[in-house]
């Protein structure tokens, strides 16, 4: 099944490469990887989606966790969370179908961000399934090009992940934290 990880990393050159390499080396195929800054300077956040069973998911977490530049790893697959993806889709239009397309954009609560006589560019956000579905609807008109950001995710509620690497069934000894 698809496993979704939130990974906090130090914002340093080569860190993305390290993370990606740890997947490549063990033959895990990354379905989606999105990375960007957090509100804290020097810390980036990745959302990584991988096809894996439960045991493999733990191995992945533990391997990510081991990396010196990785600050925190969370498997949010089973959490109550918000998952979003953004896509830009350029669709071929004709005078006849233009209205139909505008209506579809409306239904999907997406936005038209560029219009020419022969095309529109649609911006859509939502869970992966919603975007897949819109793509399917646009397919018959002719998709000229498309780009997706990959998913980002966040747990619901007033908390952020804290440093408690329980996935390894272990705790950081208090003395170590006190240092």
């Amino acid at each position: 099944m698809l496993q979704t990880f939130t990974v906090y990393v130090e914002d340093k050159p080569g860190v993305l490469n390290r993370v990606a390499s740890s997947f490549r080396r063990r033959g895990f195929n990354i379905e989606s990887l999105a990375v960007g800054h957090t509100h804290k300077p020097g810390i980036s956040r990745m959302t990584i989606v991988v096809e894996a069973d439960g045991f493999t998911a733990r191995t992945i977490e533990a391997n990510l966790y081991k990396m010196v530049n990785v600050l925190l790893v969370e498997n949010i697959t089973y959490d109550d969370k918000v998952i979003r993806e953004l896509a830009l889709i350029k669709v071929r239009t004709s005078p006849e179908n233009r209205l139909e397309i505008f209506q579809t954009v409306e239904v999907y609560r997406s936005k038209i961000v560029d219009v020419t006589t022969e095309s529109v560019m649609v911006e859509v956000t939502g869970p992966t399934a919603k975007i897949d579905s819109l793509v399917e609807v646009f397919e018959p008109y002719g998709i000229i090009e498309m780009v997706r950001t990959g998913v980002i995710g966040m747990g619901r509620g007033p908390y952020a992940p804290t440093i408690s690497p329980e996935f390894v069934e272990a705790v950081v000894p208090e003395e170590a934290v006190a240092k």
Binding site: A62, L71, E169
Partner: protein, 569 residues
């Protein structure tokens, strides 16, 4: 104080307690080599950078301290790669310092530019590219800390030439290194100890699988206490040898592909496996689907990613092994498992009758006899380093050390050419130890150029060269599984005695068992490095052997003693 980056490098090394650096100079490390002359650290100029990495590794394994290797950019650095991968697989703490082209030309395919942090990314515990002198001090400290803490491993620091030349205000900062993303000291949740203790107390046929983690965490004494109290027998991995004295009655010996029959049988029959600082390598498990089918499994390891990696366990405890056993001990009940132990040891005496050590040699020289003699005449007290091949497995079987850090060998990567340089590193780390290298005729030639380093440094390593005229271990597989078609395995060898003599060292030759004792004694008494070439039976095999794809206790057994041979004596 204002210093150059190059000076900072040597200052930090000295502060980290480094006494010896193994290296080879070149354009991109010239500034650092220039500053070497003002440092009190001893630099060992090797003959090939691979040798430098293996020497640092041997130094680290013998002493438990961090070994240091140094090389120039490009070809110098890529020559380190095999040594770094070897250290990575066996969790050996080394720091490799390499020169890099000027930061301004990085990425332009400048002369001798190789993206070494890229190349070594999957074979280092961590690596750094340093482009300014200001970063050098903190990064090098981090490098040593990361290399030796948690599960140890190699760390590479790639330093541009301008960072070496640059000036910086440097002060030694001895506050603990703070790395927010690096948490080497984890400890298991209390429930896990509880569950482990219950499993142990209820087990009737348990076996301890002792790995290198026993030695690295210094758990030798507590392991022994644990074993004596619970009466649980111990099987060792190749790198775990020495964690419990070989002479301890509950030390069964090595497990796995060339482990003894009684050891593998015990594992297959066990109702509980206690994996202590080992990682279930495929060379010790055989086919996973049939591995220890009746056993519950407890795995204690400092590296969380090892738990459930290949073998699914019932209890996984993350933590330093010594600490973990100390926490666990009070909950463990004294045990009497004599029936189980007797059952295992009965098989031992049956199998031992086939043991080559007890067999007559019929005028021929067997490698196993040689190694057993070496064990005998050095009182089992030498620090043994091996290369990779048949001689390595025979060493694990017949040189049975009572002390930890006395058998140094490339386990995970199985790197031929490791032996000679690693033995030099080990001897330099422990000059008071009697160091013996046991090496094959094939692997010896991969790094034999380091004989010159022995001479240069006046290092005394005793070399037992097991010359069987073949890449023996590969030839054995060809004999068993490829119909004796010996493709690429016969060796056309130089005259080894002349070869060492050409280096100004001593060469001896042994062709009969009767000569072994006096030659071994002669080697021990001779000053400087001595090589004894043992011309042994050529098509001899390592037994027992679990063929690939077989269940762990389905083994090719040692042939019955040859009645004709026996009657000759």
């Amino acid at each position: 104080m204002t210093k150059t980056g190059a000076q900072v490098i040597w200052e930090v090394l000295a502060k980290e307690g480094v006494e010896i650096v193994f290296g080879y100079p070149g354009g991109a490390v010239l500034p650092t080599y220039d500053a070497l002359l003002d440092s009190s650290i001893h630099h060992v100029r090797v003959r090939h950078e691979q040798g430098a990495a293996h020497m640092a590794d041997g130094y680290a394994r013998a002493s438990g301290r961090v070994g240091v290797a140094m090389a120039t950019s490009g070809p110098g650095a890529t020559n380190l790669v095999t040594g770094i991968a070897t250290a990575m697989m066996d969790s050996s703490p080394i720091v490799c310092i390499t020169g890099q082209v000027n930061s301004g030309v990085i990425g332009t395919d400048a002369f001798q530019e190789t993206d070494l942090t890229g190349v070594t990314l999957p074979i280092t515990k961590h690596n750094y590219l340093v482009t300014s002198a200001d970063e050098l001090g903190p990064v090098l400290r981090e490098a040593f800390y990361v290399a030796r803490s948690g599960r140890p491993g190699p760390v590479l620091v790639d330093i541009t030439k301008d960072a070496q030349n640059g000036k910086t205000e440097w002060v030694w900062d001895d506050r603990p290194v703070r790395l927010p993303g690096y948490q080497p000291d984890l400890r298991a949740l209390p429930e896990e100890y509880q569950r482990a203790a219950e499993l142990i107390n209820n087990a009737r046929c348990p076996v301890i699988l002792a790995g290198q983690g026993v030695i690295m965490s210094g758990a030798m004494d507590i392991l022994r206490e644990f074993v004596d109290m619970t009466n649980i027998p111990v099987a060792e991995t190749l790198l775990g040898i020495g964690g419990l004295p070989a002479s301890h009655p509950l030390n069964l010996g090595m497990m796995g592909m060339h482990g003894e029959v009684w050891v593998n049988n015990a594992i297959q029959e066990a109702d509980l496996l206690l994996a202590f600082g080992m990682r279930f390598d495929d060379r010790v498990t055989g086919t996973l689907s049939t591995y220890a089918p009746n056993a519950a499994k407890i795995h204690i390891d400092i590296d969380p990613s090892e738990i459930n990696k290949v073998v699914r366990v019932d209890v996984g405890i993350v933590g330093d092994l010594r600490e973990t056993l100390e926490i666990l001990m009070p909950a463990i009940e004294r045990g009497d498992r004599n029936g189980w132990v007797d059952h295992i040891l009965e098989q031992k005496s049956e199998a031992a009758e086939r043991d080559i050590v007890g067999q007559p040699e019929g005028g021929q020289l067997y490698a196993a006899h040689v190694i057993n003699d070496l064990w005998k005449y050095t009182n089992g007290e030498a620090l043994i380093v091996t290369d990779v091949g048949q001689h390595q497995m025979w060493t694990a079987q017949y040189y049975r050390p009572d002390k930890p850090r006395h058998l140094i060998t490339s386990g995970g990567l199985g790197t031929m050419g490791f032996g000679l340089p690693a033995s030099i590193g080990a001897k330099m780390a422990c000059p008071d130890e009697e160091v013996w290298l046991i090496v094959g005729d094939g692997g010896f030639q991969m790094t034999a150029s380091e004989l010159a380093t022995c001479r240069q440094e006046g290092v005394k390593v005793n070399i037992a060269l097991i010359n069987n005229g073949y890449l023996g271990m590969v030839r054995q597989w060809q004999e068993f599984f490829y119909d004796r078609r010996y493709a690429g395995t016969p060796n056309v060898n130089p005259d080894f005695v002349k070869l060492v003599e050409a280096h100004g060292l001593t060469g001896l030759r042994c062709t009969e068992r009767g000569q072994a004792e006096s030659l071994i004694q002669q080697a021990r008494e001779t000053e400087g490095t001595v090589l004894i070439e043992f011309q042994v039976v050529q098509e001899d095999n390592v037994y027992p052997m679990v063929p690939a794809g077989a269940k762990l206790n389905v083994m090719i057994r040692r042939p019955e003693p040859n009645p004709e041979l026996a009657s000759e004596v």
